[in-house]
Amino acid sequence: MIPELGHFALILALGIAFLQTVAPLLGYQRRDAKLLAFAGSAAQAQFFCIAFAYACLTISFINTDFSVAYVAQNAHTDLPMVYRVSAVWGAHEGSLLLWMLMLSGWTFAVSVFNRRIPAELSALVIAVLGVISTGLLLFMLLTSNPFDRLFPVPMQGRDLNPLLQDFGLAIHPPTLYMGYVGFSVAFAFAVAALITGKLDAAWARWTRPWTTTAWIFLTLGITLGSWWAYNELGWGGWWFWDPVENASFMPWLAGTALIHSLAVTEKRGLLKSWTVLLAILTFSLSLLGTFLVRSGVLVSVHAFASDPARGLFILIFMAVVTGSALTLYAWRAPKLATVGDLHLFSREGLLLLNNVFLVVACAAILVGTLYPLVLDALNLGKISVGPPYFNAVFLPLMVPLFVLVGFGAVVPWKKGKAGETWQRLKLPALFAVAFAIVVPLALHGQAALLAVTGALLGAWTIVAASQDVWRRIRAKPSLVAGIASVPRATWGMTLAHAGLGIWALGVAFVISYGFEKDVRLAPNATTEIGDFTFGFVGAQEAKGPNFTAQQGEVTIERGDHSVTTLYPQKRFYPSQRNVMTESAVDATLLRDLYVSLGEGFADGSWSLRIYVKPMIRLIWLGGVLMFFGGCLAASDRRYRLARAADRKLALDGGTQAA
């Protein structure tokens, strides 16, 4: 019964989504306020339908109702409760439902928080979101219904993929999806602006918090994914340039560019059509990401079961959404022509350069990710593009970007002065150079080029980015008054840029000074890596709720004193006859010690994978700081203050129009 209710709620949601699209468009054409107002109610009704369907699926999982095919494929009676809830999005159908839940959730939020913006714009935004919703609901009902029944009902389910039985999975995909889907709001705002032909500073101010919020989630999702890959996949790296990772990274780069160009559009009224184009591209890249993961065209740890019909549907959907948005853009964008000057040496000029580097980096990754797929689709041979390509293109492009970040915080809008800039930046520059020479030598005794570059850029970014806050605080009589006077958006920007610098430090040090070693050790044998001595005590049986394991014991010593003892596991999950590697990590901010078990041999020895990774935590710390920076920026006072003013403006505008 419950699954049928869920299924019915989805069909109902499809009907509402269709109305949510059509009514506001008609209302806009006929200038009918009632039809426009219908958009908000439809969005809310749709959200409740989908939330209800989602709850139904969750209940089926909790009850392990194996008459539902999707539950039978992804649950097991031994599965712990927390993973039953997270198993809902553990495979294709459920993760699509989660996608839908988020989309309708975002639309719901738009309908609630958008009361302050003109009714027309708000209704059009909701209508555009309705188009996306209609397409995806059709996709779900036609090709991937999570509520399909299974007869005869199996006695036992096939269980959740053990790889996914980790806390990381419980939070990584939802956060990533929140980000992906969140960009649909920016996209909808862009399309609505193209339809109305009105794009001004107020539009940018309405769009900014939505875009930043989506970006926050995407940032967090990528950071979590990287941490999860490191922790769970047993590969010991933090980024592999795996096509699916790239699929989430490309919208991130485009979205980051969008955030910055929106700032220019709000403050200076420039780059309007570029901002709109970026909003369209960012969401298209999010859809591309969904396509890449769902279609099974990729050889990747992320790829779910492949079904050509699904891939084709998403591809067509993507072509329709992106294609029509771009056509609309080509037709209407000339209307958004900018009046005003742009000096290259000004904040907006530097932000434009920032956009160029971000977009070029994004394009380079796009080429590397899609080229093999295109070649394969055209039967021109099967190739793969290795991580060295991405490193060789991406890292050099980041160097000028990091240099720019430092300037961005200091150079004013409109026109900067070289002398003044130099006065403000000479100390940060000096500090960065000193830091880059001293720190690698002090910590590792040798100065690798990459480590010095990374330390230089990282320190420069952190110190130069904090100049803005520093100057604002110094301008006030007391520290407390100074700190209170700094707007949240400025704190957010500074924190996010500092996070970027910390990320750069981590990346440079991990690549320069990391050790990786595969060894075969007999019980009580030792091996030396860097300053550390790893001793393998042996391996014994261990038991978990739904697995059995071989648990290794590895002691780690540095000099004469013991650092820690690690217990990596090799797990066997009987329900799917699956073997999983559970690594063990001892982490501090300055270094990670990482051990995972390979295979056991007849003589009692094991193959072990041992890594020493300096400063790898800084990579994720940087991501987390960017996340918090985004949170501060999105909740800035002026977005809330502006509400009252905007509402008044909208009302006045409304009366005049009427």
């Binding site: 050889v299 000057d341 160029v356 080429v367 293109v393 090799k570 066997f572 073997v579 390979g598 072990l608």
Partner: protein, 159 residues
């Protein structure tokens, strides 16, 4: 400098920047592109010694031998030919005789494929799509029956 000149300068700087990036990208791309080959392709000897390549196929049952430490040798086969592969390191969890693998590496002058990375997915039913495609063979001639390489019984467990 007039505004017009300044703008021209800006545009020129952008073009140069993008050009440099494109050149960098293109060179890196050429260098890091790895073609995928089947054992038959490699056995034909058309692939130059030392060129980066990906080899995909099935691990021939009974071909795995272990050397010192973590050195292993095994043969990767398709329906027609097989190629000896040498690797040193930890094999992935799902590496089994009789199952599909993809190896990154190069052919050396002794006609042995030296693998630098071995991939086998975390799913026992998984076969890399390239391998699956390659094994389908030619539907017209109907040759390439792969019966000898059917998966062996999976009793490896956590031992």
């Amino acid at each position: 400098m007039t505004k017009r000149n300044q703008r021209l300068l800006g545009v020129a700087a952008l073009l140069i920047g993008v050009g440099v990036a494109a050149t960098l990208g293109f060179t890196a791309f050429r260098k890091n592109m790895m073609y995928f080959y089947t054992p038959s392709d490699l056995a034909a000897g058309t692939v130059p010694v030392g060129a980066a390549a990906q080899l995909g196929g099935l691990v021939e049952a009974g071909s795995l031998t272990r050397g010192d430490g973590l050195k292993v040798e095994f043969r990767v086969a398709d329906c027609a030919k097989n190629i000896p592969v040498r690797y040193e390191g930890v094999l992935p969890d799902l590496f089994r005789e009789g199952q599909g693998v993809v190896a990154d590496g190069y052919m050396n002058d002794e006609h042995v494929f030296v693998a630098t990375r071995i991939l086998a997915k975390h799913d026992e039913n998984y076969m890399p799509p390239q391998v699956a495609d390659a094994l389908k063979g030619n539907p017209d001639t109907g040759k390439h029956s792969c019966m000898p390489f059917k998966a062996v019984d999976k009793t490896v467990a956590a031992s």
